[in-house]
């Protein structure tokens, strides 16, 4: 699969690394060249400096040939705009975005984008960790969360 990932923060970089190790053709975009430091030295994908909503850049990286596009920058608006451009203008089949605002996340999910909202899940989990009777219980709980996500 050819996968384009916009935003090379901790999440984008971890995602890029995992997809790349599984043998996919990965392109990571970030406006900040120092962001690529989150990628491991043996990362074989393509690193491109630039803005994932810039039509010139998207043409240059041939976004229309991608099978999947993921937007994981810090900006909700940038993420959903880029996802819509990828889906509706470049015809990318699978587009996914991280959206911090729960209401916007729900709205764009209903509009046909694949979205996740980390805010609510994390708040719920944090609350459970705080309410755990002992530190050991909290630690066990945190391990359990990781396990649920296959980590």
């Amino acid at each position: 699969m050819r996968i384009v990932i916009m935003g090379c923060g901790r999440v984008g970089a971890a995602l890029a690394t995992e997809f790349s190790r599984e043998g996919n053709d990965v392109t990571v975009l970030d406006t900040d060249p120092t962001a690529f430091r989150f990628l491991p030295d043996d990362f074989t994908g393509q690193k491109v400096i630039g803005n994932g909503i810039d039509p010139d850049l998207l043409k240059k990286i041939h976004l229309e040939t991608a099978d999947a596009f993921v937007s994981a920058t810090r900006g909700d608006n940038r993420n959903v705009m880029a996802a819509q451009v990828a889906k509706h203008i470049y015809g990318v089949k699978i587009v996914a975005s991280r959206v911090f605002d729960p209401l916007r996340e729900e709205m764009y999910r209903n509009m046909g984008l694949r979205t996740i909202n980390p805010t609510r899940v994390q708040a719920k989990r944090l609350k459970r960790v705080i309410e755990a009777p002992t530190d050991e219980d909290a630690s066990e709980m945190a391990r359990e969360f990781m396990k649920q996500d296959g980590l």
């Binding site: 039509p55 605002d101 916007r104």
Partner: protein
């Protein structure tokens, strides 16, 4: 009408002022508390602090009864999302987005923003009109790829002295108005004779601009003796 303006910078400020003076009910939503204060001081109680892309903020602003939402911040993505949230969640029937980067015009059109306003493009078009060297001046873009353009017929054009029906125009192009050098406009018909110095207003496809320029302005082909 109840009109919500997202972004209280210079554009938002003067827009709100203008709309309020025309007796519309206006609310400006702006993130920077200092700008909110400035608007309150100058224009009265018509500004609210908050992120105009956030549904909770728009809810508080009574967006569901708004007739129009104008998103005029300096960030294109924020303007797009504000319009989409207003439309999707609050059924606002008309949304207008300011576009800062002209490259985004096409994108916004395809993502269903009702109206886009690009200051950069407007300034460029205005300057193009003033440039005497520019031969074919785009006046206005219509829907479906058509545009209205203006051409001044040079003295050596091959169509000088000929009626419009004899001009071979490109596909989907037509001459609409001919303005003579005295500034008198007339509707173009097949019999209208083109004179040197006439201003011709034509409708054409954007892709056909060059072909139209050629048809109206090119000198006659050189003859071999």
């Amino acid at each position: 009408m109840y009109i919500i303006v997202i972004g209280g910078g210079k554009v938002g400020f003067y827009l709100a002022k203008e709309l309020a003076e025309s007796n519309h009910e206006v609310l400006v939503i702006e993130q920077d508390p200092q700008k909110v204060q400035e608007i309150q001081d100058e224009l009265g109680d018509i500004a609210m602090e908050g992120d105009g892309c956030e549904a909770t903020v728009l809810e508080k602003a009574g967006t569901s009864r708004a007739d129009m939402l104008l998103a005029v911040t300096g960030d294109d993505e924020d303007n797009l999302i504000a319009c989409q949230v207003a439309k999707q969640r609050f059924n606002v029937s008309r949304t207008v987005a300011r576009i800062n980067d002209p490259k985004n015009e096409e994108i916004f059109r395809r993502l269903d923003v009702d109206i886009t306003v690009s200051a950069t493009s407007a300034i460029m078009a205005h300057i193009e009109q003033e440039l005497p060297t520019h031969q074919l001046i785009p006046l206005m873009r219509l829907g479906s790829g058509l545009e209205i353009v203006e051409v001044r017929i040079p003295d050596d054009s091959r169509i000088v002295g000929r009626p419009i029906r004899e001009i071979l125009l490109p596909y989907q192009s037509m001459v609409a108005i001919v303005i003579d050098d005295g500034g008198r406009p007339k509707m173009a018909s097949g019999d209208t004779i083109i004179r040197a110095g006439d201003e011709v207003v034509a409708v054409t496809m954007h892709e056909s601009e060059e072909a139209l320029r050629e048809a109206l302005m090119a000198p006659p082909p050189a003859r071999a003796f």
